[in-house]
Symmetry: C2
DNA sequence: TTTACTGCAAACCGTTTGCAGTTCC
DNA sequence: GGAACTGCAAACGGTTTGCAGTAAA
């Protein structure tokens, strides 16, 4: 199965180097949202010489091209979301900071016009916070 | 008018130094969400010798005590939200990164149980993204 | 061949920390 | 008096950048 992402990038006359290919492949293969560091690690498994700088550069370009999205839901590192096809919300673990996609619930909230204060609203992000199964289990064990 | 925040802090036997008082006062006076740097700047206007480290320490303590909340909605610096009384959502400008509170809309979205993937969900954050009045005006001017 | 990407290392920004000195209770 | 706070400066983690070399088209 050919990579949709790579196909799209080729169409946009993106100069395709081994490094960029590997970054794109890593992102496509993953269903969780990786940090730049994690992308670098996985990319190095396939292409040991790839540098951190190149990973960062590539991620930023992909974001600029609208092919992936940055997600900043917790302290620390940004995460990269390759799933930009349809809108979805995020479920984030307050303890281990894992992020999981959830299909967006039917009705999207909107700002009451009165409260809009002159803002031009273009989108809504919904982030559910809580504990992932593993961390919930660990927390339960600790408090007993 | 005495400070509610300071009153509450005194009750919690919080050691009250000039530096801490000034940080608390700066936060209370503001209705927008400041970065640590901005808090430092405003605090310095009243107490020139106050150090960055102390501002950071104090902000972190206030967060730990549950008196203010950290808000991380964009790249860059965390912002501090003194308005923890009742739940509210945020309106953030994609261009200048200003944050404004909006009273939360009636119904809060929830994760369909099926999609919960074993997570223990404890809260929802809703962030509206767009352009603040000033930036919307600037954008309109530019594109014409 | 030319333009643009890569790698390195140094710089950067926001934040945290260790420590010596000082202050609040 | 003693625990707890302050300021400084150095360290930190994540990310960006300048530049010389290299490779895609």
């Amino acid at each position: 199965m050919a990579s949709d992402l790579l196909d799209r990038l080729r169409e946009q006359q993106w100069r395709l180097s081994p490094q960029r290919r590997v970054v794109a492949e890593v992102l496509e293969g993953e269903h969780v949202h990786l940090t730049a560091e994690q992308v670098h690690e996985l990319a190095q498994r396939r292409l040991p010489e790839i540098s951190r700088a190149t990973v960062y550069n590539t991620l930023n370009e992909l974001v600029a091209m609208g092919e992936i999205a940055e997600v900043q839901v917790t302290d620390g590192a940004k995460r990269y979301d390759p799933n930009i096809g349809d809108t979805h919300d995020h479920l984030v673990c307050e303890r281990c900071h894992t992020i999981r996609d959830v299909p967006s619930s039917g009705t999207r909230p909107t700002v009451p016009t009165r409260a809009r204060a002159g803002f031009l609203v273009t989108g809504v992000d919904i982030t559910y916070r809580g504990l992932c199964p593993d961390c919930a289990r660990a927390a339960r064990r600790k408090e007993s």
